[in-house]
């Protein structure tokens, strides 16, 4: 059957990807091929043959690998509990755990320092308990890097693996049980094998995130022995001011990431081919052993995840100013809500919030729609290439992307604030697209094709079938993609700084300005608003997703 309709659908996202991603990327990367004399492969060759590059790559891969491994390992028992049992706080936990994913890294660092630092909460508690003055040095070491990465990524692993596990039918396991296999045996030889694709997917996704991690590694790691490729790119571009060589390094990074992405796409395809059962595997909790396990895991998760987040929230209430009184203070919030006139940036908080929400909603709508179109087309065409294309932006850090953008900006002269808004929305769109695709693509693919065929035989055109039948079946995935894209947009700072040109203020930009002007209390207050906004939207989505799921089963 000709799928011209679906092809037309895919044109728009492909065009946008081309203009907003491929173009800036190639502008950025093409600098690597030119020096004073003209076209040359020397720079690129140099980067690819210097042992230093590979040393950097080695460490980058190492920390990404360990981060991914640890995250998945810790997420596994959680996924087991969440997939197999129904309990009241499940929605809450899942929403909470996705929060940290969205925070700008400076907040993550701050939160970590406040919670785990030498003068942080954990150590204060420890000192009180032991009565001594010794602190446990949790931060400023390699394990701190892994800790922070795990904080950010365990939710990803938890969500992905839980999703896959809860759709696995129990039949194979039950069959094995009747054959006399013990639970542990069953887990390792049956369950794990069937989960392996989703575990590997989670691992690879986390791996990619950690690959481009930057400030977390430097600050929390404690020293330059933990240097990654991103640091080297930044150094070359911003300090040494050698943008050509920086581009060459970016090419190297891009190729490595692309390879990882391709492997990921292939593996996640296999994950979807497993037969899915419509039913949710979860059963109510009966035994006290399980209840206990849930309690322990959830508590540990809460502490681990909420620790840094609550630290940020708490910090927003603490004033270090002798003028306004040290200690508990509502000052930052009073400035935000206008009950006290503000010094400087805080007055913008309201505008920033509105901007962030407006841009976030626009981005979420656009990203969801475009990811939908692209997913629909790629599932009809059964094309891996398209899926990889949609996930491309993941292979590039938002810093690199931002660098490419101002090259584009240089060619679009405009004083208009609307153009700035548009560009910010479009940049966020490109960043959010892979995540929306990651959510929608499997859902579209696992849809029952025969339902569409039935519609065709009843006289429905392709277009109408797509819009009136296929898309309504995707409601819960659409909601998820929407929320994720919203959250990503709301927390994005790098590309926004470049493109907003100071005209458009968003919450993260405000945060950045506040931190640069020593106002940590204000920064934490904005951070709290970020957290709250995201949390609310996430919970709505989780509820919507559950409800639709229950309706359909």
């Amino acid at each position: 059957m000709k799928s011209r309709f679906y092809f037309l659908l895919a044109l728009l996202p492909l065009a946008i990807l081309l203009v907003l991603f491929i173009l800036p990327l190639s502008f950025n990367l093409s600098k690597a091929f030119f020096n004073e004399e003209g076209f040359t492969l020397d720079l690129v060759r140099d980067v690819f043959t210097t042992p230093y590059t590979y040393r950097l790559l080695a460490f980058t891969l190492l920390q990404a690998f360990i981060s991914g491994f640890v995250s998945v390992l810790i997420a596994l028992p959680g996924a087991y509990l969440y997939a197999n049992y129904r309990f009241r706080t499940k929605n809450l936990m899942l929403s909470l755990s996705s929060l940290c994913f969205v925070l700008p890294s400076i907040l993550v660092v701050l939160g970590f320092v406040i919670f785990y630092g030498n003068s942080g909460f954990v150590n204060e508690l420890y000192r009180k308990i032991t009565g001594g003055s010794e602190s446990i040095k949790i931060l400023y070491s390699f394990k701190a890097i892994i800790l922070a990465h795990a904080f950010l990524n365990i939710p990803v692993a938890l969500s992905l693996i839980t999703d896959s596990w809860s759709n696995m039918s129990r039949n194979t396991e039950n069959a094995a049980r009747t054959l006399g296999a013990g639970n542990i045996r069953i887990f390792f030889s049956i369950t794990l094998t069937r989960l392996l694709p989703s575990i590997l997917s989670a691992f690879l996704l986390i791996f990619l995130f950690c690959f481009t991690s930057f400030s977390i590694i430097l600050v929390l790691g404690g020293g330059p022995e933990y240097t990654t490729l991103e640091v080297e790119i930044y150094r070359t571009n911003n300090i040494v001011l050698d943008s050509a060589r920086a581009s060459a390094l970016s090419i190297f990074t891009f190729i490595v990431n692309l390879a990882i992405l391709i492997i990921y796409t292939f593996i996640s395809r296999t994950a979807e081919n497993r037969d899915k059962s419509r039913e949710d595997r979860a059963v109510p909790v009966k035994s006290w052993k399980v209840r206990c396990a849930l309690l322990i895991y959830n508590t540990l998760m809460l502490i681990f995840i909420l620790g840094p987040i609550v630290s940020i929230i708490a910090r927003s209430f603490v004033s270090t100013s002798k003028r306004y009184g040290e200690g508990f203070s509502l000052r930052s919030y009073q400035e935000i809500f206008g009950t006290i006139s503000s010094i400087g940036a805080m007055g913008d908080a309201y505008t920033a919030l509105l901007n962030s929400i407006f841009i976030g909603l626009a981005v979420a709508a656009a990203a969801t729609v475009l990811a939908l179109f692209l997913s629909l087309y790629s599932s009809k065409k059964n094309s891996r290439l398209l899926e990889i294309t949609g996930m491309f932006p993941l292979a590039i850090s938002s810093v690199t992307l931002g660098l490419g953008y101002y090259i584009i900006k240089a060619h679009i002269q405009s004083d208009s604030i609307l153009v700035s808004y548009m560009l910010v929305i479009l940049a966020h769109l490109v960043i959010a697209l892979p995540f929306a695709m990651r959510t929608l693509s499997p859902a579209v693919r696992s849809g029952n094709r025969r339902i569409l065929l039935a519609a065709y035989t009843l006289g429905t055109s392709e277009a109408r079938t797509c819009f009136d039948i296929e898309i309504p079946m995707l409601k819960s995935s659409l909601a998820k993609a929407f929320i994720f894209s919203f959250a990503l947009s709301v927390g994005e700072v790098n590309a926004t700084l470049t493109l907003a040109e100071g005209r458009v203020i968003t919450l993260p930009i405000l945060l950045y300005r506040l931190i640069n002007s020593y106002n940590y209390q204000g920064a934490c207050a904005i951070g709290t608003i970020l957290i709250l906004t995201t949390f609310i939207i996430f919970s709505i989505s989780e509820k919507l997703g559950r409800r639709k799921h229950n309706e359909q089963t």
Binding site: L453, A454, A455, T457, L458, T460, M473, Q552
Partner: protein, 335 residues
Amino acid sequence: MSKLELQKIQKDYPEFSLDLNLSVNEGEFLTIIGPSGSGKSTLLNIIAGLDSPAHGSILLDGRDITSTPPQKRGISMVFQDYALFPSMNVEKNIAWAMKIRKVKASERHSAAAQLLSLVNLSGYGKRKVTTLSGGEAQRVALARALSSDPSILLLDEPLSALDANLRRRLRDEVRRIHDSSPSLTTVYVTHDREEAFAISDRIAIIKDGRLEMADTPENIYRNPATLFCAYFTGEGTALSADLFNLSIPADTIFFRPEDVLVKEEPFFADSDSYIILDECEVISSEYLGRCYILGLNYKGHRILAESSVFPQKRHVSIYISKNRLLFFKDGVNIS
């Protein structure tokens, strides 16, 4: 002129190569049966336009519809897993095709109600499709398929997912519904031989993408075109022709269990009318309620025979009516 004609339909698939001609008469109920992976569903998809052949043409009322999109063929299909639209309730599912054709809402409503009563589901209109049982869902799927007033109705193993009792009841309903619409032509796919025999006007047997035989159930049973058809349509025994002195140049003879008389005591039989085999050892038996199907061993050959009683003796004699024998050479019936 037949209603539907498949002419030289050819396409290669991983498991088989489709290559056949088939005609379907107007108003008839044709069932396609065959082993799994033989191409039955594929054939249905091609008829519906959901798949296209590499070569060949499809004629509907003499018109070539090979390149007509499925939306325009007027051919409806019922799927094994019902494929109901999950986001709509029962009535909306059924009314969907009418909505596409811009039928007014009130007319849609009454038409849907009529269809619901046709499938014995009156009052189910507002039910959510996800709450239906298998049998109910399938009937809704049937009603929905009929709502577009199709000239041909295709059913792809619609009852396979249901339990045996439900299957028997529903297959009769399917036939009844077919009968109630005088101009409806139905093509039905199943792997259940009994089902096919029970409700079809004609049966087409497909093997490896090729049409073995298409005829009435009686003809297929009594006079199967190939050995495969013989085996596929019922129990039977095939023996090498060497065992017997025959004038016909066959390599295999075939007979049904019910054409074999089992006797424990000597029986006067005319050797012109019967093949008599003595010293058959009773190896196994299957009790069917109305009779036994005995598995006998004659000189190393296995023979199936029907008997109303279970033999007391271990060795029995069997009498096979010669005029019920089927002769095959190279798998083809030459009787």
